[in-house]
């Protein structure tokens, strides 16, 4: 019973959304369900946020290693929450958008989250460098092809591509590096992308059917 009802719900909703594609009056069903999902996400957050608070309060209470940082996390959370919920320092009234310029929420977002987020993101540049040195090696034929393609695209995306291959006559201009880079993007890359996309499409269909038909049910938990 405890498994049957959820299995039935999955089955019913899944089939409903599949046939809705073919029934014009149901055309908006997907969007409506997206709205449901958005509303459910708010409630799920009570669990997620609650979990976050619990973890850090526990850390604090038991004086686990690094507990002082939990104070920072909790106060950051609380401050952002208060700033957004009560629209602290918002130049508009309570009806104004929460991120109106000048509000505390706006300040916290732009002065703290933006630099943090973009710096974290920019770490990628460093990791790209270390991965290039360490991992992009022509160990076999496949890896060599990957390398060559990457190399041509890299060259083609810098002005050097044109400098070193500008001498190639216009009749075979395809071999000028920037053009070759575009050709790789448009032809072999496109072919690989398509094969991957078609495969993914089939994989999704098959997995969806397994879920809808209840063949795959691990996410539902046990009977107890």
């Amino acid at each position: 019973m405890r498994q049957t009802i959820p299995l039935f719900i999955t089955f019913f909703i899944g089939i409903l959304l599949i046939i809705a594609v073919f029934i014009p009056p149901f055309g908006e069903l997907g969007e409506t369900f997206t709205l449901f999902f958005d509303i459910m996400a708010v409630f799920a957050f009570f669990l997620g946020g609650g979990n976050l608070l619990r973890v850090h309060i526990n850390k604090l209470r038991n004086k686990k290693p690094d507990w002082p940082y939990s104070i920072v996390t909790l106060s950051g959370f609380g401050l952002m929450l208060a700033a957004g919920l009560f629209k602290i320092n918002n130049p508009g009234d309570i009806a104004a958008a929460v991120d109106t310029a000048g509000s505390l929420f706006y300040f916290m977002f732009h002065a703290a989250m933006v630099p943090l987020g973009s710096t974290m993101y920019s770490l990628l540049a460093f990791f790209v460098a270390s991965a290039s040195y360490r991992a992009f090696r022509a160990k076999n034929r496949e890896a060599t092809l990957l390398l060559i393609a990457a190399f041509i695209i890299l060259l083609g995306r810098t002005p050097f591509g044109m400098y070193i291959s500008g001498w190639i006559p216009d009749e075979v201009s395809l071999f000028q590096i920037p053009n070759l880079a575009v050709w790789i993007m448009n032809s072999p890359n496109l072919a690989g992308q398509r094969a991957i996309m078609i495969g993914i499409g089939l994989g999704v269909i098959s997995m969806s059917l397994r879920l809808i038909l209840g063949i795959e049910r691990s996410y539902l938990g046990g009977d107890k």
Partner: protein, 419 residues
């Protein structure tokens, strides 16, 4: 979902309506109207500056929820003249026999002679007329007959999509059934998946935890679902080996679902007491906030094995390189082609696209699940046959104008298009 509906619904009926209108109007246009404009001498003070549009036709938009009427007309004959005074059209509408009210103005006289009225409702009748507009006045056409937009219950434009869905799902289901009856099905080895047991075993030996990252998307992404189905298998092995698992997630819903999944795996392994909610923790929804936290966990907990499965974006390499720097064995998989090269470079095993979705079926080893993979292959075979046949017929038709090839190619293009 609805983009299918909208794009399929649009073109054909509209074009048919316009073409038929034009054809209908042709005789009228040729005989009745021309003399009128010709007979107006340029220097007389005539008030009529332009002829009204003719043959205004309203028609129901096919295969919709009864919420669109298509309107088309033959442009005012004056529009074709060099010194035309027509600057646009105005469309008037009356609902259920009421007053006519202005519905829309169309300023672009060169290209537009049709209008799709999407502000109608099933169950009401609408009549229209169209007026050609000049600087000084409007010249109205005749009114159309009142028309009620119809609601269709089946979208026949999508018959081919339906058949395709039926064939592919049918193939999956048939193979699942065949497998259920005990027929042995062969599925080739997938290296990344063969490695999972060893990877978990290694963590056990080293006494270090397993880190499972299910991507950064929520439960409304199929990749997250795929990650959770794989988690079910991995957690089973972890429960058997009694290894520690750590799963920071960036979505609350994923946290809930992951806890259910791990819990049921522990139950299946017969060790429900070993399960504990702290295995899965919510961190933050923010992409790089989550990454900052996971990176921290990696360098502090030094996991022996890291799974990166699901929807990944820019963080793929940040996570994979950090995992690599602490010496973890890494198994990654995503359906995002842009991130795959980074996983291939920095991880030990990578599941490419389709393999991610096939993984849990493969790992389960259960006949019915393997059967579904066979069904997928039927889809691939169809795609391959269609591509070969399509390219062949297109080439024959394009280079040598062979009639039969043209018709096959035309038909294939019709089937394999969502427009």
């Amino acid at each position: 979902m609805s983009y299918h509906s909208r794009r399929c619904l649009r073109s054909l009926p509209t074009i048919t309506a316009i073409v038929s209108c034009l054809l209908l109007a042709l005789p009228f246009y040729a005989s009745g109207q021309e003399p009128v404009t010709d007979s107006v001498p340029a220097d007389t003070a005539v008030v009529i500056e332009a002829a009204p549009p003719t043959t205004v036709l309203s028609s129901d938009h096919k295969y919709d929820d009864g919420d669109q009427i298509n309107l088309s007309w033959v442009p005012s004959i004056d529009e074709t003249l060099k010194d035309s005074k027509v600057i646009g059209y105005k469309i008037y509408r009356a609902e259920d026999g009421g007053e006519f009210e202005l519905l829309a103005e169309i300023p672009d006289v060169d290209t537009t002679n049709a209008y799709a009225d999407q502000e109608v409702e099933h169950g009401h009748k609408y009549a229209y007329y169209v007026a050609s507009v000049t600087e000084t006045g409007e010249y109205a056409s005749l009114e159309t007959m009142p028309l009620e937009p119809e609601r269709e219950w089946l979208d026949l434009n999508k018959a081919y999509l339906f058949i395709m869905a039926l064939i592919i799902s049918g193939a999956v289901i048939i193979y699942v059934e065949t497998a259920k009856r005990g027929k042995e099905l062969f599925v080739r080895k997938i290296a990344g998946l063969e490695a999972i047991d060893d990877a978990v075993g290694r963590a056990t030996e080293m006494g270090r935890p397993v880190l499972f990252i299910p991507g950064i998307h929520d439960m409304d992404d199929v990749q997250t679902l795929a990650a959770l189905t794989i988690l079910g298998r991995v957690a089973r092995t972890i429960a058997d080996y009694d290894t520690k698992i750590f799963m920071p997630v960036s979505r609350s819903l994923v946290m809930t679902a992951a806890r259910e999944t791990i819990k049921s795996s522990y139950q299946a392994a017969g060790r429900p007491d070993a399960y504990n909610d702290d295995m899965v923790n919510y961190v933050t929804d923010e992409q790089f906030g989550y990454v900052a936290a996971v990176d921290g966990i990696m360098v502090r907990e030094k996991p022996a094995t890291v799974f990166l499965l699901g929807a990944f974006f820019a963080e793929s390499l940040i996570l994979a390189e950090t995992g690599n720097s602490v010496g973890a064995i890494q198994i990654a998989g995503t359906a995002r082609p842009a991130q795959l090269p980074f996983f291939i470079a920095a991880c030990d095993f990578t599941l490419i696209g389709e393999e991610l979705f096939a993984a849990s079926a493969y790992l389960s080893g259960e006949p019915r699940q393997l059967g579904s993979l066979k069904g997928q292959d039927v889809g691939k075979a169809i795609a391959m046959v269609v591509i070969i046949g399509g390219v062949a017929t297109a080439t024959l038709a394009g280079a040598w104008q062979m009639g039969f090839a043209e018709s096959i190619h035309g038909w294939l293009m019709e089937v394999f298009s969502t427009n």
